[in-house]
Symmetry: C2
């Protein structure tokens, strides 16, 4: 497998792509990114990913000196020249050298990435979640700060769960790398505040609107035992049913009809995707 | 100015030292560090800095394959071979390549760093702080996550303050890069929980103990208007008096007698420092 990376104007093999030790990304964890995939060889909702990248960068005052058209061309070439079975791209914007005037030499990096394979059984059985009290800093900003997410890996293994589900006094929010939905009495509900504005989340809301009642609102942790269905969404995994939360079955403990219907709608939506 | 960096066994000019784009530090903001300085050419309390580095790394499951004696030797050589007026070293431990088994190839980096000069007037006039509601993630861990600290720079400029002072429902904690102390009715008080265990903080507590009452406890934000003195501490700036918080004078609005006494004690302590 050879993967290509574009860094500040040059296409290089990924293993040769590096950032200086003085970069704000290492010195201060100061960088944002986005992650996009393909369907049928075409980047999926790439305009949405670029818009979110620019929102993240703006929130941290990071300039992006490359146009959307250029970034799209670069991402396409990175995918074409990499050999990947499940192509994806990750775009970083870092603060640049911390000795320079603030962010005047930010690094822009577009790297190919082999998307992790998802066990297809998960779509049939659903996955287990463990609630965990935590609120991400700057939740709408896709920064590189996944310190807590990575640090919780041993906890997930210990509890044999697929992922943790963050909650705080302000309600249930999201998983570290997935948005969260529930279905209750036929209504599709997803947390409205303090979450990453996921692209797959927005597609699911788009597909559901019109065919079922949809609520974007605060979701109390105490509501979880009463929901009929639950699922998580992400770019790489699409819609994954949730069958257990905190060792308790969600609904009947298997993927419910609304979840399955949305999975079918999503599959149809991407089946003919041509960018 | 030429600065040397040791990275995974090699001494190289800082500008040639880099980490791969696939490193956990860029991919997931997953790295810890520590920062130590010299007095009289000797590293100050370097054993304490290494102990804290190991605690930070342990909390994130990051291995450090180099002994304290080796790290000390490396830091001394980095300082000797760099040309710096105000020598300091920064030690990073990153998660290594995110495609490898978890953290099996963590990067260890020791880099020279010219410590920023501090305007000596600040020690005479004191500085202004602005309270800001925020709680750092994993406060006892010196991770690279300074996202919020860097992002608040424009706010500091807008309010013309030297630093922000974090508080939450659990009380006042610290500044992004400084610990915080107050003096009230002759008692030295510093927040006990949810703060970085600063090395300068611990030296100040050591110097004060015996000569004045000392309390490490929760400090409510509502207490701030009633304190007689306040100061901040850090490796690079030692003890800096605080003369204003939220535009209100602290005590008489100038460095108070307890602060000045601790500044003198600290200066005496480091004056003869020989490591």
């Amino acid at each position: 497998m050879s993967v290509i990376c574009w860094i500040n104007g040059d296409f290089v093999p990924l293993e040769d792509a590096s950032i200086g030790v003085s970069d704000f990304a290492l010195q201060r964890g100061y960088a944002v990114f986005d992650f996009a995939r393909t369907y049928n060889g075409h980047l999926f909702r790439f305009g949405d990913h670029l818009a979110r990248l620019r929102q993240s960068a703006d929130a941290l005052y990071l300039p992006i000196s490359v146009s959307d058209a250029e970034l799209t061309g670069i991402a396409c070439r990175v995918i074409q020249e990499s050999s990947m079975e499940r192509p994806a791209v990750r775009i970083f914007v870092t603060g640049g050298d911390c000795n320079d005037a603030l962010f005047e030499n930010s690094n822009i990096i577009v790297t190919g990435e082999e998307r992790a394979a998802v066990d297809p059984v998960l779509y049939e059985t659903g996955v287990s979640l463990l609630t965990h009290e935590f609120q991400r800093e700057l939740p709408a900003v896709k920064s590189i700060n996944y310190l807590n997410a990575v640090r919780l890996e041993p906890l997930k293994r210990e509890h044999n769960v697929f992922d943790v589900l963050y909650f705080s006094a302000a309600g249930v929010t999201e998983c570290p790398r997935n948005n969260f939905f529930v279905v209750r009495d036929g209504v599709l509900i997803t947390p409205a505040e303090n979450v990453l504005p996921g692209i797959t989340r927005s597609v699911v809301l788009q597909l559901a609107t019109g065919s079922m009642p949809v609520e974007e609102r605060m979701l109390h942790r105490e509501e979880l035992p009463d929901v009929d269905e639950a699922f998580i969404t992400s770019t790489s995994k699409r819609i994954v049913p949730v069958s257990q939360i905190d060792r308790q079955p969600v609904g009947a403990g298997r993927p419910g009809p609304v979840t399955q219907s949305l999975m079918r709608l999503f599959d149809e939506y991407v089946h003919e995707w041509k960018g």
